[in-house]
């Protein structure tokens, strides 16, 4: 038996949770683009502007041993570009680092 009134109640439980959610809202689109020859380009669109994309790209470049950059786009905001097919890598990295939830990731391309 439990008395409801005696339960500890955290009035901020909801608030804390939702604030966490707010950082990354909306889908993150991971795309691949073909370049000349066998070369490809991976773009990551939709990362929250709260994140410091420059830091992310720096970490990614080191982790995946590829080059990359942040591109500013009038409609889509800051977009991450990485050389090569990094779709798997970036998805794993983003979820592992807790920046994006797996259900928010959307991978496009073949």
């Amino acid at each position: 038996m439990s008395i409801q009134n005696l339960n500890t109640y955290d009035p901020f439980a909801d608030a804390i949770k939702s604030s966490e959610d707010d950082v990354q809202d909306g889908l993150v689109h991971v795309r691949i683009q073909q370049r000349n020859g066998r070369k490809t380009l991976t773009t990551v669109q939709g990362l929250s502007s709260e994140y410091d994309l420059k830091k992310i790209v720096r970490a990614c470049k080191k982790e995946f041993a590829c080059n990359g950059t942040v591109v500013e786009h009038p409609e889509y905001g800051e977009v991450l570009q990485l050389q090569g097919d990094q779709r798997e890598n970036i998805c794993q990295w983003l979820t592992k680092s807790g920046l994006v939830k797996p259900e928010q990731l959307k991978v496009h391309g073949f």
Partner: protein, 308 residues
């Protein structure tokens, strides 16, 4: 038909299985259901034949899905003897089966794993059957005679019963949505031809333009339909890659999100696309096709020349 309603949840769950492998949830759903459909239990034997041969052919496919079936079967058998066989619902059941058995076979790749369980499952089924046979006198071939039943007969019987009780689980009778694979040929070094593009559009009952938009957006290239009604895509693509994209298209824009039936209509309503299901009547909006951010891959000089 209100039986439809009964089966719906499991269908939904099943979808999950394919994509997300939420086996536990699905199991829970199906078990709950199996008990509710229990009544017509052993009666099905009367209408044994129908598609026995077909059945055997389909075994391979069937089993793949049936990993969870192992579990479920036990459940079924255990609950069986308690319920008295009732004759009437049978008819209805059959109809339901027909209704619901439209299933699409995207997950060719994923199914392979489950194949191993076939033997196991079959054996288990048999055991359960034997016991049941003793009490349950029915219209089986061997019922009046002294002879031993053969393995094949038993097998047929098991699947008949399963189909009766749990049509959504046993995919044996399911009408697979079989598509011709896309014929993808490289043209030169830089272009790819998708030869049976219009044919596939026809089988999916979708406007070629819609599929074209989707393909090009997903692949992040450009392309067009040429005179021979084949699609020319810029860039190198293999058949497998195109298949993947097609599969995603079917999942999003062809199959009903509720009952997975491919019998749907795509309508445009105030700039939004809606998917209307002909089988279950559900209607839901689908994502619009957006190509999103496209990085500059060509020569920058050329772009500058164009704009300036």
């Amino acid at each position: 038909m209100d039986d439809d309603m009964v089966f719906d949840p499991s269908l939904k769950k099943k979808k999950k299985k394919k994509t997300g492998f939420d086996i536990d949830a699905a199991l829970a759903g199906e078990q709950g259901e199996s008990t509710s459909v229990e009544a017509p239990a052993g009666t099905g034997d009367v209408d044994l034949p129908e598609d026995d041969n077909l059945d055997l052919d389909n075994f391979g496919k069937k089993k793949k899905k049936k990993k969870k079936g192992v579990f479920n079967m036990e459940e079924l058998e255990s609950t069986l003897p308690e319920t008295p066989p009732a004759e009437e619902p049978e008819q209805q059941e059959d109809e339901v089966i027909d209704d619901l058995d439209l299933d699409i076979d995207f997950s060719k790749t994923k199914k392979k794993k489950k194949k191993k369980n076939i033997e196991e499952l079959v054996l288990e089924d048999d055991k359960g059957e034997d016991q049941e046979n003793v009490e349950d006198v029915s219209g089986d071939l061997w019922s009046g005679t002294d002879r031993d039943y053969t393995y094949d007969e038993l097998l047929e019987r098991v699947f008949d019963i399963m189909r009766e009780k749990n049509p959504s689980m046993v995919s044996g009778k399911k009408q697979k949505f079989i598509m011709r694979p896309p014929q993808v040929v490289r043209i030169g070094t830089k272009k790819t031809s998708f030869a049976n593009f219009t044919e596939i559009c026809k089988t999916l009952h979708r406007q070629p333009k819609h599929l074209l938009d989707f393909l090009l957006a997903e692949l992040g290239t450009s392309g067009s339909v040429d005179g021979n009604s084949q699609l020319i895509i810029k860039g190198r693509f293999q058949q497998k890659q195109i298949e993947n994209v097609l599969r995603r298209y079917i999942k999003e824009y062809v199959t009903c999100h509720t009952c997975r039936s491919p019998d749907t209509i795509l309508q445009k309503d105030t700039r939004l696309f809606f998917l209307q299901c002909e089988t279950c009547g559900s209607r839901c909006s689908v994502a619009s096709i957006k190509s999103g951010f496209q990085a500059v891959t060509g020569k920058r000089a050329a772009i500058r020349a164009k704009t300036a």
